[in-house]
């Protein structure tokens, strides 16, 4: 007689060239035990699972959900076995393949280190020519450096419940990546009135003008689904680095590239002329409440 356990999808987490950031990020998911209970975990790098890596690397098993973390490197071996062979073996029969993080999605940080060799499993930055091209219909990209634990939580929950995950042209779930990181940022009023922040870690001011914030151009729900359920980078005063996009990592992450004080990139889909018109007029006005510390402002002033 088969137990209920046997009907659970078998989940395998493999790693290419990685810093383990996604593995660790996923451990922060508040409902991780509940979620993993819906799967039969064959192997996961940071906790006990059904099989050892020796057994996995022998390529005698198969899985339903393959999660791949890290950049793809055709010359990389783990346990003496080429990772590309392991990836090809498990991808061939997996019903779902999930790229965990920007390296696995587009190449990311490790492609930057070895651009001629490393790539994502389906994309090489924006070009769809990765090693798992023939399995593209089954691939979901969860970009992010690292991934938000809730994004992996959402995707695995959908899979466990036999729900279809609708993706964008870069194979990212639209439910998670149709928002911009800008949406829900607590600094939006400062963006509207063009008030710069006066330093790192300040509660006040917008990070877009001086500090290189990419939130208005970055598809991510960091300010909608908060990190550790409490905060986000922009909320605590660090600019968004655009880590979910194929061009990550860019250079000079803490600087806004400008041409004669005019931002080179403007919010997604907004014509530069329109942006400059709006920004110029907004800058004309000085809103006293937005110019000092929020806690010091008195309505009686």
């Amino acid at each position: 007689m088969h137990s209920k356990q046997d009907n659970k999808p078998r989940l395998l987490w493999l790693q290419g060239v990685t810093c383990n950031g996604n593995t660790h990020s996923f451990l922060n998911l508040p409902y991780l035990p509940l979620l993993l209970d819906k799967f039969e975990v064959l192997y996961y790098p940071a906790m006990e699972a059904l099989h050892s890596f020796e057994e996995i690397s022998a390529c005698k098993l198969s899985c339903d959900v393959l999660i791949f973390e890290g950049a793809y490197d055709p010359l990389m071996k783990r346990n003496g076995v080429f990772m590309k062979e392991m990836l090809a073996h498990y991808a061939a029969t997996a019903k779902h393949i999930v790229a965990a993080g920007t390296c696995a999605s587009f190449g990311g940080m490790f492609k930057e280190a070895a651009s001629h060799r490393n790539s994502g499993i389906l994309f090489n930055e924006e070009e769809m020519n990765g090693p798992l091209l023939k399995h593209k219909k089954r691939i979901i990209n969860l970009s992010g450096c690292p991934i938000h634990p809730e994004w992996m939580g959402y995707t695995l929950s959908m899979i466990a419940n036999d729900q279809t995950v609708i993706t964008d042209e870069l194979h990212r779930p639209v439910e998670l990546y149709s928002n911009l990181a800008h949406h829900g940022c607590t600094r939006n009023e400062y963006f509207e009135w063009k008030v710069d922040t006066k330093g790192f870690g300040q509660k006040e001011g917008c990070l877009f003008y001086e500090q290189g914030c990419r939130a208005p151009m970055t598809h991510a729900s960091c300010n909608k689904i908060l990190w550790n359920e409490v905060s986000s980078k922009t909320r605590i005063g660090t600019p968004c680095f655009g880590c979910t996009e194929p061009d990550f990592p860019r250079t000079e992450l803490f600087q806004t590239k400008t041409n004669m004080s005019i931002p080179e990139d403007v919010p997604l889909g907004v014509p530069k002329r329109s942006y400059l018109t709006m920004a110029g007029i907004a800058k004309t006005f000085h809103i006293k409440r937005l110019e000092g510390k929020l806690i010091d402002y008195k309505t009686t002033d």
Binding site: M260, S261, G280, I281
Partner: protein, 197 residues
């Protein structure tokens, strides 16, 4: 005779007001003066503009939009930044020649009577169409490597301050030669000052 549309009437007032304000001055010119010049009653004038101050602000916006459209047309051309500088200067000097009231109004009324424009026309509000196009010009020039990256207002002041100064000298009849004569050398000076080093 074809009936004059409301829009044409409004443009007629704008044109007459620009001339009167720049010739006689903003405070001396009265609404009856303007109404008389366009051939309408004072009562009818108020159907178009509720006050002299409102008309004054509309005129700034009108000039700014006119200049903005002219510069946008140059910005959109497939020519080098050096050529664009020459084209913008040509356009500006032609305007000073053919529609002197526009630039006169800008320099002598708008910039000299801040108390009129302080409320509702401050900062970028009325000049946004023109300044935005200059931003686009500088942005494109830096992006394609022709101009060196610097603060916008430092570059804007150098460009427009120079042109404004020349038109002012022209208006004062101090220039020994017509504006046209200075186009080449001024273009070269501005380009040399702004180009990539």
């Amino acid at each position: 005779m074809a009936r004059v549309t409301k829009e044409e009437r409004k443009n007629g007032i704008i044109s007459a007001a620009l001339k009167l304000f720049s010739e006689k001055g903003f405070y001396i010119t009265t609404i009856p003066d303007i109404a008389e010049k366009v051939g309408m009653s004072v009562g009818n004038f108020y159907n178009y503009f509720k006050s002299k101050d409102i008309l004054a602000k509309e005129l700034v916006l009108y000039i700014s939009e006119y200049l903005g459209n002219q510069i946008r047309e140059i910005n959109d051309r497939e020519i080098s930044t050096e050529e664009k500088i020459y084209e913008i200067i040509s356009m500006y000097f032609n305007m000073a020649d053919e529609k002197p009231e526009m630039i006169e109004y800008f320099l002598r009324v708008y910039l000299s009577n801040r108390e009129v424009f302080g409320d509702g026309c401050e900062g970028m509000i009325c000049v946004s169409p023109f300044v935005t196009e200059m931003m686009m010009f500088f942005n494109d020039g830096v992006a394609n490597g022709d101009l060196h990256d610097q603060d916008f207002f430092s570059a804007f002041g150098l460009f427009m301050g120079y042109l404004g100064g020349m038109v002012f000298l022209f208006g004062e009849k101090i220039l020994p030669e017509p504006l046209e004569w200075y186009k080449e050398s001024i273009s070269q000076n501005i380009y040399n000052a702004l180009k990539t080093r």
